[in-house]
Each structure stands twice: as C-alpha cells, then as structure tokens.
C-alpha cells in the first residue's frame, strides 16, 4: 500500500485551516450585527424624543417631542425624516404611547381628555379619529396596536395594579396588512 507523500497531509491541513478561517470570516461578516441610522432623521436637530414606535414594515417612525411645552406625537418617514401630517391631534396634548399598524395607516395613542387619558386611533387613510372607550375605572397607560390593526393590547392601571388586556378592533377598523398577505385563511401551510 502506497502512502501519500508526507508533505501532502500538512498542505491539505493548511489549506483546510485557511478555508475554515475564510469561511468563519465570511460568516462573521454575514452576522455583522447592525447598521446604525443616525438617531434623528433629517431636519430634527438634537431635541429630546421619547417613546419610539415603528410601523410594521419599519418605514415610519412615531416619537414624542416637545412642541410649545406640550408633549406631541411626531410621525415621520424613517429614512428621509419627512414629517407626515396628523389631522386630529392638535390641542389634545399631552400625547403618549404611540403605536403604528403595518403600513402606518393607523396610529393608536393616548391623549388627554380632561382629567383622564383617552385611547384613540387616527386613520390616516380616511382622516377619521376613532375613540376607543375602555372599561370604566381603568386608566390606560400603554398601547400596542397589532400590525394588522385588528386588535390592541392595553396596559391598564386599576388601584395601582397594572395589567395587560387585549381588545378586538375587527368591528371598527379595516385590516392594514403587509402587501401580498391573503385576506382569508386556508390553503397549504395555513394553521388548523
């Protein structure tokens, strides 16, 4: 039996090690974690901003800023910084806890209604403001709108205790789904 030349094995080992290093390096590039976008989209300067909320597709960003001493929601395109108009929310500050649907059609937030906070949804497609009356005796503190706009999670406070509850909005809002998503169930891969 002829053994391979002694030099072959180390050469192969070296090549294998180099290939492994290269592969690891490439994999490392693939995992390179993040691309950072400047914190403030164009045109905003360095003012204080709080409570960010992204639309489901990541295209829009809602934040809270100070305008004339009042905490006001600001809706922007994330990449360009272009500010998008909101029709109904002026003079009803302070705003808090903004939350956006998939395409940003719906903006849910809390606004001040006298001594109480009121949950509302602005429909940017129709310009309608939809109040969301919640059970009496519960103070809403934080909202999370489902990306399709069909349900809402609300952090509620009663007697100092916090609890999260879900509400169905399907009778109030049309779905705001990602493009290409089917409207009804069934078909291969659909959940039972």
């Amino acid at each position: 039996m002829v053994r391979p030349p002694a030099t072959t094995a180390p050469a192969s080992t070296t090549e294998a090690a180099l290939l492994l290093l290269l592969a690891l390096g490439l994999a490392g590039c693939g995992l390179s974690p993040l691309r950072r976008q400047p914190a403030a989209p164009a045109g905003l300067g360095s003012e204080s901003r709080e409570q960010p909320a992204l639309s489901g597709d990541g295209r829009l960003l809602a934040t809270l800023v100070e305008r004339g001493g009042r905490t006001t929601v600001l809706l922007q395109e994330r990449r360009s910084g272009r500010v998008l108009p909101l029709r109904h929310l002026r003079n009803r500050q302070p705003h808090s806890s903004p939350s956006l649907s998939w395409n940003g059609r719906y903006l849910a937030l809390l606004l001040q209604q006298g001594a109480r906070r009121q949950a509302v949804i602005e429909d940017r497609a129709t310009g309608r403001l939809q109040p969301l009356p919640l059970p009496a005796g519960l103070e809403p503190d934080r909202l999370s709108l489902a990306p399709d706009g069909q349900s809402l999670a609300v952090e509620l406070i009663r007697d100092g205790r916090r609890s999260v509850q879900l509400f169905d909005l399907s009778q109030l809002l049309e779905p705001d789904r990602a493009p290409g998503l089917r409207e009804s169930g069934g078909g291969p891969g659909a959940p039972p």
Partner: protein, 160 residues
C-alpha cells in the same frame, strides 16, 4: 300596533348598540393573562404578545404568549435571576424579541432569537442608557429610546 312598537323598539336598540360599538375585550385571552399576576409593557405582533409579568412578590419576567393557542411559550435563556426586564418588543413571527433589562446596575439592550435560544447584546453607541424599545413587525428595524447627555434620544438599528 303592538308589532309596530316592538319593531321600533328593536330598531332603536340596534341603533344604540351600533352607536356604542367600541373595542371588545378578548376574554379568552384576558382571563389567562390575569392569572400571570401584574403585567406591563405589552408588544403585540401577529399571533404574539410579549409582556413583562410578575406574580405576587415574584421577580418580573418576560413572557411570550401565543395568542392563537392562548398559552405562553418557553423562552430558554432569556430570563435571568440577576436581571430586571424594563421593556420588550416582539416581531410578527415570534422569532425575535428585543429587550431592555437592568443587570448589575446597568441597562442593556438585547436581541433574543427564539429558534437559536440565544441572546445577543447590542452595544449602544455613543454610550447611553436604553429604556424603551420598539421592533418593527418584520423584525428588521429596532428603535431604542436612549438617555444620553441629559436628553432622551431615539437610536435606530437595522438588523441583518
């Protein structure tokens, strides 16, 4: 005559109910939620609800609820005895969770991938203290509220 009055009454009732249409509590989910104890910081995406829950005298923990099955799913490696979750967000596949937590008197930003059962610490640059996080439902963009130089700022990160 009586029939007319009945119809009128029924129509009025229907109109009233219609006028009072509002959000309807999803009791099949809310009842199990109430058994989690105190809960806060909700993030809803697809069939997933992430929140921070603490039973009486218990340590707050991140919970991920499968809303369709109405049950929490395990998150191995995410909750630690030496840390306190402050804010959580989930993507629509329930695969990625972004988390701000306090550990050893420091706040840190983490990304958890459920299929890998692994957390990755995300550096805050320039240095700052993260407080609240939002994850786009497609799981590709992260917005983090950061305290920096006496201001609250929002950092945006695109995830691979």
């Amino acid at each position: 005559m009586n029939r007319g009055l009945t119809l009128l009454g029924l129509t009025s009732l229907l109109l009233l109910v219609g006028c009072q249409a509002g959000p309807r509590p999803l009791n099949r989910v809310n009842q199990p939620l109430s058994r989690l104890g105190s809960s806060e910081s909700p993030s809803l995406a697809g069939n997933w609800l992430a929140l921070i829950a603490s039973r009486q005298a218990g340590r707050p923990q991140v919970q991920l609820i499968d809303v369709r099955r109405n049950a929490p799913v395990p998150l191995p490696g995410l909750n630690r005895a030496d840390s306190l979750p402050l804010s959580v967000a989930v993507d629509q596949n329930g695969e990625r969770l972004a988390l701000v937590r306090q550990r050893d008197d420091r706040s840190e930003l983490l990304l958890y991938r459920r299929s890998l059962q692994a957390t990755q610490t995300l550096a805050i640059e320039p240095a700052g203290v993260p407080r609240r996080v939002s994850l786009s439902a497609d799981g590709r963009v992260l917005a983090v509220e950061v305290s920096r130089n006496g201001l609250w700022q929002v950092d945006l990160l695109e995830l691979p």
